[in-house]
Amino acid sequence: MALAADAPKQSFRLGMLIYDTRYRAITIQVIVLILVLLFVGWLLDNARMNLALKGKDIDFSFLWRRAGYDIEQNLIPYTNDSSHFRAILVGLLNTLVVAFFGCIFSTVIGVFFGVLRLSKNWIVSRMMVIYIEVFRNVPLLLWIVLVYVVFSEVMPQPKDFRPGADGVAKASMWLWDSMAITNRGTNIPAPLLTRPLPDLDTAALSLNTSLWFVIILFAVSVWLNRKIVQQATKVQEATGIRPTTWWKSLLILIVPTVAALVLMGFHLDYPVLAGFNFKGGINVAHAFSALLVGLTLYYAAVIAETVRAGIQAVSRGQSEAAFALGLQPGRTMSLVILPQALRVIIPPLISQFLSLTKDTSLGIAVSYLDLRGTLGGITLNQTGRELECMMLLMLTYLLISLIISAVMNAYNASVKLKER
């Protein structure tokens, strides 16, 4: 009787490195590793030779030298005597501020238009289809450049705001004489403080103390308000009667912030026509407005389409069930459809925020001095340090992208369906 014997022990042969699945993975990885290392080594060796030929080295000390160029829009104190590092910081803030407002505005408009796109009203839904298709299918760059050209070539000159010989000005200011769009820029009122807190300002870090104070104060009030609402819910669950909280909420949300602003002497500084241009207020450069408007319009169309897809992904039975329960259409939307649609909408929305942030680099078309414009533009050209600047530029963008996706993914995890 033959017993099933163990497979004969095979001695190791070289061929097994390829044919034996146990070793093949290791073989392939070793080969790939060697190839990658050779390739990277080749690249680095080339870079070394090229740098030697040009008499350059890799050196980041240029960051601390005098930048010597002006930046029109700076959120932190900056003069052309500041260092390149400071200029890059200004650029980074300019990138972030466009990205921030762009994300907010495009989301608001996008959600609104996406809901209107599904409206039963034929005219409105057709209008939204046209808007979405036109803006989505044309390069974003076109919208930015077009808005910029229209702003700087169609808008009136500052002198047109002066009454002419017939006593009538050719152009007038908007919003009760508080805002003026000229071909040189948009003038809006500036929030000013007469008794601000002392600012903290060092080379690397600068802090507008008053602004941060107000923001933190408001955040604390919001937090307190949430506590009050939670407390009310607890009382309601225990006794069945919800205590009135609206005046408490109102008091907590508004009073501390307003009081702080009044104490610091908050007032608006309106732009006034003086000489050949408007003085006072804030002059928002057209580069900024064009970039923001272009990004907002384009991404609003993209987000509207995402929202539509998300709402349509909620099955019809859900809205029918809500109607059967006697909910009004508005409440059906806000209580039943949107919370479910949000789960479908958020993942693509994250990637759209990411692309919006990356697309702020298109400010190059209108010479907006963002991160690309300072670090990858003027600083790069002035110092001639392409390698270092491009490396820093790519790493910074990468970091921003990673942070945004981490934050949004955390939010996504908090709203997604909790499966047990």
Binding site: A25, E133, L146
Partner: protein
């Protein structure tokens, strides 16, 4: 007894529904005025449309096609419609359309990009409509007809007219007799493009192509003994050796015997939509296989390969395209052997290909993730090895899911080709428009060129997104 019972023996004709319940009135009541809020929305919508039209319509209707400068345009409009009338000056498009389309390609050679563009659709037809031979025929027929029309408009020399007309007619013949044979045009298309657009001797393209022949022959010869992976490796090495050492001399030798030479064209002559299509189409087609490999790498069990793929994909997706373009123009030179200096378009295509590959990899990964686990297990159970399983089971299904996403990627990439302006190439949107606007005759014109360029982009992108929706419907196999 007389019969008084009454039986109706014919049906009464149904009466018409009330006036408010039929036709236009009913439709309007349901879709426009079903309630207070709906009525308000309708009125607001109509008001918005009216406001928009009364702003734009006169401008469009007063359009001038025949003028030689912007001031002449304006004086014609003022003459015809009064001094305050506004009007479009389409004359700039009529006079300068060729720059938007061909950039600075010389007029007598316009037939080359045109023929190449026509061949692009012939090459695409068998890939786009693989299971609908009628559509292939229709597409090739339409392309052939349009090409002939374009040739007449471009007034080429008779020789070129006859040769290319015969060529395109022959392709139409092939599409009628054996449409799937057109896949050869698809495979040859990259080399046809290089030959037609950049010119030079046909042999340099042909010898480049022959490298793939070398790869295929070596693979065939060694596949039985060495297995897929090693045979591919040996084939690639052989092809690279061919390209480096043999292709040049052989091409030179053949060219000295019989050179089918086209006039060589420098990359700085390229511009406008020609450039956008060259960069867009070549990047997306080269990036597709790379993207598939990256997606497979990302799913791989091998740690090293997985981390390399993830690192590459996430890095590329984390930086803006514009930094990649700057890398192409500023940095690529640093990482290549000293004194290597090659064409800017080629450099841009390489970097844009990397960019597109990362995005395609994510789409293909989505397709792979959509597959049921059972498909992999079934492939294993049949005893297929990794590449057989990928080729026969996994990829056909995963790519089917991924195609709409790939088309979307292509639309995005095609729109993003306008960014090449910032590294010194003349894209249609900014580069060529700036050239036109810098002409003294057309200084101060902006709506017309932007509307023209935007309109062409819209047609192309909208067409592609419609095609992607058609695919989505066609490929949907689940019946929900």
């Amino acid at each position: 007894m007389s019969d008084i019972s009454y039986v109706r023996d014919s049906m009464l004709p149904p009466s018409e529904p009330p006036g408010a319940q039929t036709g236009v009135v009913k439709w309007m009541r349901e879709n426009l005025f079903s309630g207070l809020s709906n009525t308000v929305l309708t009125l607001v919508g109509v008001a918005a449309i009216y406001y928009f039209l009364q702003l734009v319509l006169p401008w469009l209707l007063h359009g001038v096609w025949y003028a030689n400068s912007l001031s002449e345009c304006r004086s014609i409009i003022a003459e015809n419609y009064g001094p305050n009338a506004s009007g479009a000056c389409w004359a700039v498009i009529r006079l300068r359309w060729y720059q938007f389309v061909f950039g600075f390609y010389p007029p007598e050679l316009w037939w080359r990009p045109t023929l190449n563009f026509a061949l692009l659709f012939v090459a695409l037809a068998p890939a786009l409509f693989s299971d609908n031979l009628r559509m292939v025929r229709i597409m090739v027929g339409v392309v052939a007809a349009l090409y002939l029309l374009a040739l007449v408009c471009l007034s080429t020399t008779p020789l070129i007219f006859v040769v290319t007309a015969v060529l395109i007619a022959a392709l139409f013949g092939v599409s009628v007799v054996a449409p799937m044979q057109l896949i050869w045009v698809t495979l040859l298309f990259p080399f046809i493009t290089i030959y037609l657009l950049w010119g030079g001797s046909v042999w340099s393209s042909a010898m480049g192509l022959a490298g793939f022949g070398v790869l295929a022959v070596v693979y065939r010869l060694t596949n039985d003994r060495l297995g897929v992976v090693v045979a591919t490796g040996v084939g690639v090495v052989a092809a690279i050796l061919w390209w480096i050492f043999l292709a040049g001399p052989v091409a030179g030798g053949l060219a000295s015997v019989l050179a089918f030479r086209l006039e060589p064209m420098d990359s700085d002559r390229f511009g406008g939509f020609l450039l956008a299509f060259v960069i867009g189409v070549s990047s997306i087609s080269i990036s597709l296989p790379i993207g598939i490999l990256l997606a497979l790498g990302r799913q791989s069990d091998m740690l090293l390969i997985r981390s390399l793929s993830i690192g590459f994909i996430e890095f590329v997706r984390g930086v803006p395209l514009i930094t990649m373009l700057f890398t192409a123009s500023l940095l690529l030179g640093y990482f290549l052997p000293p004194q290597t200096n090659f064409d800017l378009i080629l450099r841009v295509v390489i970097l844009v290909t990397f960019f597109a590959a990362a995005y395609n990899a994510e789409v293909v990964r989505g397709g792979l993730a959509a597959l049921a686990r059972g498909q992999y297990e079934a492939a294993d159970a049949l005893g297929l090895d990794y590449w057989q399983a990928q080729r026969l089971i996994i990829m056909p299904q995963a790519l089917k899911v991924a195609i709409p996403g790939i088309v979307t990627n292509f639309i995005g990439l095609f729109k993003d080709t306008t960014l090449v302006n910032f590294v010194g190439l003349r894209d249609p949107l900014i580069g060529i428009t700036a050239v036109v606007r810098s002409d003294l005759d057309w200084k101060g014109i902006y709506w017309e060129p932007y509307i023209f360029v935007g309109g062409v982009f819209f047609l192309a992108c909208y067409g592609m997104s419609r095609y992607s929706m058609y695919l989505e419907r066609k490929l949907k196999t689940d019946h929900r």
